[in-house]
């Protein structure tokens, strides 16, 4: 069934997207802000994510407790996340609660940034940093990206550090908000069982007064490099390696070909990495992904295994990515079938559709019906993959390892 996406841009620049499907029993709603770690200065490191927490800590008319209790009263499954490039606030509710959820979420996007709440939440963020410090593979990813992207902001840390979070002030956070949270830098999207007309008219009433201002982002491509680095940690029982090379951006047409290639080479099952490494018991995890960012991108190999096997595992993984065209037509068709099936299954739930609607708008300023995305995946040919590899030849690997001390 073809479902239409309604789009309206309010006079202040806020884009509103609505995809209603009366067959759903719930509705998803979310604000997608095109801001994240890559839009921070060094002093602000971690402030996007900290601000995301502060959105739940009170507005002009609601206290933090009011927000928590109201989310409870609505029976909402609500959450938020921050990445290098997006900050997303979202909720799923039953249709009767949709209107109230839209009102609450819209109010939350105008935070009070109360100084006492700010001080309290800072402690929570420091605990979150401590939590991830205990997860070695997270530590490796963060340090590998930071080194790989170098001076390019795509490698900025989402959580920030103990030092940057301890130092950041409430006023600096407010300045960041005033620089990034312009309605023209935000999309409000909804998907599922709700009334489009009411949603659009409520959006005009609730968000129409937000002040618009210019927002920009450095979307240059990063400079590729080829380095080898080792990180060491105490009490590590496992070792990990990340390999990065230049890849397609979220805007490059080659992303379809590279996503199919990723599935062939490095999906969690049935891929070259799986058969060569996991099936044989050499690695407990081995993957290849295309990590498409705003204006830039990379491809990534990740493996984890016992320290004594890491050399062998990395050699095999490098061998696989050095012969990327080494697949059969059946492998190609199978990979496409897996991707299409995932798109269909994820698209069946309001939250799945909501995420693709909002994120696609932030990256490409467009909306694509599921059927069109599926057609593009199905159309990927061997020649398309070969052409994508001419542009992104995967011969400039940087390698990062995490090993026991």
């Amino acid at each position: 069934m073809a479902i239409r996406v309604h789009k309206e841009v309010l006079p202040n620049g806020l884009t509103v997207l609505a995809e209603s499907n009366p067959a759903n029993v719930s509705a998803g709603i979310g604000f997608f802000v095109r801001t994240g770690a890559r839009d921070e200065t060094a002093r602000e490191s971690g402030v996007s994510h900290f601000l995301e927490h502060m959105m739940f800590k009170g507005t002009l008319t609601r206290s933090a407790l009011d927000i928590n209790l109201e989310l409870g009263n609505l029976g909402a499954q609500a959450n938020a996340f921050t990445s290098e490039e997006n900050t997303v606030y979202y909720a799923t509710v039953i249709p009767e609660k949709f209107k109230a959820m839209q009102e609450l979420l819209s109010d939350m996007l105008r935070p009070a940034l109360d100084p006492e709440e700010f001080t309290m939440e800072k402690k929570v963020i420091l605990e979150e940093i401590a939590l991830y410090r205990d997860r070695p593979h997270f530590y490796l990813f963060e340090n590998a990206f930071k080194d790989y992207f170098g001076s390019h902001p795509a490698g900025n840390s989402v959580l920030g550090s103990d030092e940057s979070i301890s130092a950041v002030t409430r006023d600096e956070m407010k300045a960041y908000f005033d620089r990034r949270y312009s309605p023209s830098n935000i999309v409000l999207a909804a998907s599922g069982n709700f009334s489009v007309e009411e949603f659009l008219s409520d959006a005009r009433a609730l968000c129409g007064e937000w002040t618009n201002f210019e927002v920009d982002r450095d979307v240059s491509r990063h400079t590729s490099k080829s380095v080898y680095k080792e990180f060491r940690r105490k009490n590590l029982s496992h070792s990990h390696a990340v390999l990065l090379a230049k890849g397609a951006s979220a805007q490059d047409e080659e992303r379809f070909a590279l996503s199919v290639l990723s599935n062939i080479l490095g999906d969690s099952s049935g891929s070259a990495m799986y058969w060569e490494l996991v099936d044989k018991g050499l690695a407990d995890s081995a993957s290849f992904d295309s990590d498409e960012r705003d204006g830039t991108g990379c491809v990534m190999v990740y493996v984890s295994t016992s320290p004594s096997k890491l050399d062998e595992v990395v050699t095999i993984a490098r061998g696989i990515v050095s012969r990327p065209m080494d697949f059969s037509d059946a492998d190609l068709e199978r990979a496409k079938a897996k991707i299409v099936s995932r798109i269909v299954l994820d698209g069946e739930l309001p939250m799945g559709r909501l995420m693709s609607l909002g994120l696609e708008w932030n990256y490409r300023r467009t909306t694509t019906p599921l059927s069109e995305t599926i057609a593009k995946v199905r159309a990927v040919s061997r020649a398309d993959i070969a052409r994508a590899l001419e542009k992104f030849p995967m011969n400039d690997w940087s390698e990062y390892r995490l090993l026991p001390e």
Partner: protein, 415 residues
């Protein structure tokens, strides 16, 4: 609409037609699981669970994997404490092929000896990497000490048990346990029940096997405070205490009481431990139960210097619930539980899973109206009655981190 049917060999079939969706999901549950692993070979079930996917019926390991992938079937085969489970989601016109592949895995797995060392190697690596996830490790360590044997077996198996398992062990387990007698096949999505029944009959009708005897759940061990030294940034604090069993008197009162305490952002633990004191990032309480037992678990992860205060506040909230739950709090918990049940109706995977779970526990599928009525019947006084019967003490507490904490006397120590 749900159609239920039992084949002559004992296999229960549950089919829910969901005309508004495009996909279909299946769940096959077979009693067994880690509790049925032979002594000294805990983890053999994990090897069996993996091995059935590495070649079955006319298909080699690779062919079987490719057969699933050709149709884009998202599938998983796993082993729980008391069961083997095979599940999958797919676009509906491939259901017959998906069930055929499942029947090969269950009825004709090759159980190839040469695959076993590869599986052992990955399972041993999984056990090794547990120390890289302290939150998960603390839960595993508490379960080992909290539940009676063999229900305390770790979900990742035991390293020695995995090493000691050979093909004969795995083959023996498969022969003994993979039987249709008490198995359940649950299907939900865009299907016609009559057509699916015919398919299932032809694929599984001549499957045979004996009754499977799963060990009885025994007496709970003595409750204690345990500490494990670990040089990590955060201290893990986990709590467990007995609660009401599934669908017994007070079951929904218990679920709602624990929701008032620890559900999501409106629960008392989130508000008191995180929001008001900033002691942690992650804190929660959960209610879990089977026909045999119910458990309330609670968790907080925090840096060592704030760990004692975190534990104190956690215990104060847990043990201060009785007599203090307000109508508003109960209503919020009720709204949330009902909303999550309605939203769960939407996904074929969730429906197939919850129908199977109902049948597993009580041999029927409860309509949503019946569950809602049960939830509506809960009052503040029935919550207090539940809390009088299950006061969250005695309890077991485990900490994992730089040093042990002080636990009030009298909380633990009773069997």
């Amino acid at each position: 609409m749900i159609t239920t049917h039992q084949l002559a060999n004992g296999l229960s079939i549950l089919i829910e037609e969901m005309p508004h969706v495009e996909s279909v999901s299946y769940d096959l549950l077979i009693p067994g699981g880690l509790v049925c692993d032979p002594e000294g070979k805990v983890g053999a079930g994990l090897i069996l669970g993996d091995l059935i996917g590495r070649g079955a019926g006319p298909l080699s390991s690779r062919q079987l994997s490719e057969a699933f992938d050709d149709l884009g079937i998202r599938h998983g085969e796993g082993v729980g404490s008391d069961r083997y489970a095979m599940s999958g989601s797919l676009v509906s016109d491939s259901l017959t092929r998906a069930l055929e592949l499942v029947s090969y895995m269950v009825r004709e797995p090759h159980l190839a000896e040469e695959e076993i060392p590869n599986i052992q190697s990955v399972l041993l690596q999984d056990i090794d990497s547990l120390s890289d996830n302290p939150a998960r490790r603390s839960m595993v360590e508490l379960s080992k000490r909290y539940y009676p044997a063999p229900f305390n077996r770790p979900s990742l198996g035991d390293a020695d048990g995995i090493r000691a398992t050979d093909r004969a062990t795995v083959h023996g387990l498969w022969r003994k346990l993979f039987s249709p007698r008490q198995a359940i096949l649950s299907i939900a999505g865009k299907v016609k029940a009559s057509e699916v029944l015919k398919t299932v009959e032809s694929l599984f009708g001549d499957w045979s096997g004996d009754d499977v005897k799963v060990p009885q759940f025994g007496a709970m061990p003595r409750h204690e405070y345990f500490h494990i030294d670990s040089d990590s940034s955060q201290m893990q604090i986990v709590f467990a205490s007995p609660s009401v069993r599934f669908n017994q008197q007070g079951y929904y009162a218990g679920k709602l009481a624990v929701s008032v305490l620890g559900a999501s952002m409106f629960g008392r633990l989130f508000v008191e431990v995180r929001e008001k004191r900033g002691l942690c990032y992650s804190v929660y309480a959960r209610h879990g139960s089977t026909i045999d037992y119910g458990t309330v678990t609670a968790y907080v992860g925090t840096t060592p210097e704030r760990a004692q205060e975190s534990l104190d506040v956690l215990l104060k909230e847990l043990h201060g619930l009785q007599g203090t739950v307000s109508e508003d709090e109960l209503e919020r918990a009720r709204t949330n539980l009902k909303a999550s049940l309605i939203m769960g109706e939407e996904s074929p995977g969730a429906r197939a899973g919850s129908n199977a779970q109902d049948w597993w526990l009580i041999k029927r599928v409860r309509p949503l109206s019946e569950i809602n009525a049960e939830i509506d019947r809960v009052t503040v006084s029935s919550v207090d009655e539940f809390l009088a019967a299950y006061p969250f003490k005695p309890c077991s507490i485990l900490t994992l981190g730089k040093y042990a904490l002080s636990v009030p006397k009298g909380l633990t120590g009773e069997g």
